[in-house]
């Protein structure tokens, strides 16, 4: 058993992988709380795809992929905002148009490269076992910025997410806070890409936060739980991946999904099994209680 736990930890690439997945789990867990509460899952997925051309252009020009991704994310979120607020098209539709369009642009650009298939695969599924020390430091630095900003603006972000009209009447600039959150979301996605890949980053954003929501009615507790669940599923998933020899991103997401299923069924107050069992315990023989006066 101790070998099962300790063996992976002796390998440098696994140490880096564990570090990366814990960081990503925490960052995604915290950002994901607002993604879930504001119903921005589709937007998150769109951003994850939309930054693809930015990453490719940065790669082709030999620049920093983080900056390329951020520029692409900001352009796309501004574009979605402009098209979605025109009145004729829903926000959903605007997201769909930009999502597919920018992803296609990225594929077109990268398909001209000789290493096309390998590059595309590593972008889509992540290369967690190839995380270098430098990558790890970058993830930690960006993660700190994201978490600090979320902490600093937590009241404003909560108000904007809960009651937009009231937030506006309190003098908050909705557009500015929406854009701020989208930038933080974009940063979260960018640093998660190498670890879990473009396709599965959405699960890290949504699933731990959704599980946490089932377990608590407090925003602060939900945020802490979500970060914990994200990091926990990451570590557990990596162990499963290491020993069972399955893809790491997939195994992390499957662990997170399994935890969600457990919470859905057995959460103390909301789990569907828990509620049914409790009802049974309170009213063990409902038919006997129909006419209590007569039986007395």
């Amino acid at each position: 058993m101790s070998d099962w736990v300790l063996d992976p930890l002796n390998r440098t690439f696994m140490q880096h992988a564990f570090g990366a997945i814990v960081l990503v789990g925490i960052i995604c867990g915290v950002t994901g709380v607002f993604v879930t509460l504001r119903g921005l899952a589709f937007m998150g997925d769109a951003l994850a795809h939309a930054i693809f051309p930015g990453v490719v252009i940065a790669f082709l020009l030999g620049g920093n992929f983080l900056i390329g991704a951020l520029v692409a994310a900001i352009l796309v979120s501004l574009g979605i905002g402009a098209v979605g607020q025109g009145g004729r098209l829903s926000n959903d539709t605007a997201i769909g148009v930009f999502f597919a369009g920018s992803f296609a642009l990225g594929i077109a650009l990268i398909s001209a490269q000789r290493t096309y298939t390998r590059d595309l695969t590593s972008f889509l599924l992540g290369t967690i076992l190839g995380v270098s020390r430098k990558d790890l430091l970058l993830t930690a630095a960006v993660g700190l910025v994201v978490l600090a900003a979320m902490l600093l603006f937590r009241r404003e972000l909560t108000l904007v997410a809960f009651d937009r009209t009231f937030a506006q009447a309190s003098g908050l600039n909705l557009w500015a806070y929406d854009q701020l959150f989208l930038v933080l979301l974009a940063l979260t996605i960018v640093v998660s890409l190498q670890t879990v890949g473009n396709v599965l980053v959405l699960a890290m954003l949504v699933t731990p936060a959704a599980t946490a929501r089932l377990l608590t009615d407090r925003l602060a507790t939900m945020t802490a739980l979500s970060a914990l669940l994200g990091a926990g599923s990451g570590v557990a998933g990596l162990y499963v991946s290491y020993h069972a020899g399955i893809a790491s991103g997939a195994s992390v997401v499957l662990v997170a999904t399994a935890l969600f299923a457990l919470a859905y069924l057995f959460a103390p107050r909301t789990g569907i099994v828990t509620v049914r069992v409790r009802r049974r315990l309170h009213f063990p023989h409902p038919e006997r209680n129909v006419f209590p006066a007569e039986t007395a």
């Binding site: 509460l37 009145g87 600093l152 603006f153 009241r155 404003e156 909560t158 108000l159 997410a161 809960f162 009651d163 937009r164 009209t165 009231f166 937030a167 506006q168 009447a169 309190s170 003098g171 908050l172 929501r213 608590t216 009615d217 407090r218 925003l219 939900m222």
Partner: protein
Amino acid sequence: MKTGDGRRETGGTSREQPRFHASSDHAAVSAQIADAPSESPRGAPVSRLPSPVSRLTTEGLSVHFGPRSALDQVDVAFDRGETVGLLGPNGAGKSTLLKVLAGILPPTHGVVRFDGVPIRRPDPCVVYVPQRTGVDWSFPVSVLDVALMGRSGRRSRWAPLGNRDRADALAALEWVGMRQHADVQIGQLSGGQQQRVFLARALVQNGDVFLLDEPFAGVDVPTQELLVALFGRLRDAGKTIVYATHDLSQAKASSDRVLLLDHRLVAAGPPDAVMTGPNLRAAFGGAAVVVDAAGAMP
């Protein structure tokens, strides 16, 4: 609480007035309101200088959404210490007018003045209570959290909300009879209770003008009585209250003045003078059947 540039003399009043103390007797306050003649000229409280200018005025206010005109050339004035009901059919521009007054919606033409000064953005002294339907009630916040939001929008993000904010929020909840529910998640409340939490949040904001969008819609009788008591209490403190409603008898019972709105201003004045058959037909259309439960409609 900071009052901005100091152009108003209201800065010192917030601590002097006894605010939301638990001893205020709802029944007594509402009885007092009910007995008062609707157009009674209530004197301003001694702490406040009478002002020659109305507190909130609009001049030639128009709002267009594309080709559609929501408000057309509306000139209104709201004074200190008065409660004004905005009456009109659905889509008459009641909510639009409130949003413009709150500084949320920029008017297409015209200007809103607060104490004579044009306002372009939300003012800290104007408190806006949105419709209950616009909020995500499944949000993981407690009743106390929502009441505290009355402070969070205006506070520097470097200054955490302190014990005094908490105490004020709890006192406001006490006043609306929701203190025992302070830790409950807001989605578990009834409609009337949710409206009370909104009122507590508005009280915590400590403003001079209160704009309420359909506060009586879908709430229980105790909450309606509480609203009327609250209006009386705020009015006695020299606050201005403007609320939208489509409940004619409610507007008649709990307003000093009513404005009848149908994109343009149809009529304004004391309820008895404004809520006449011809005026109501002009605002609500020919199909409106004017029936008053008490039979007092002229």
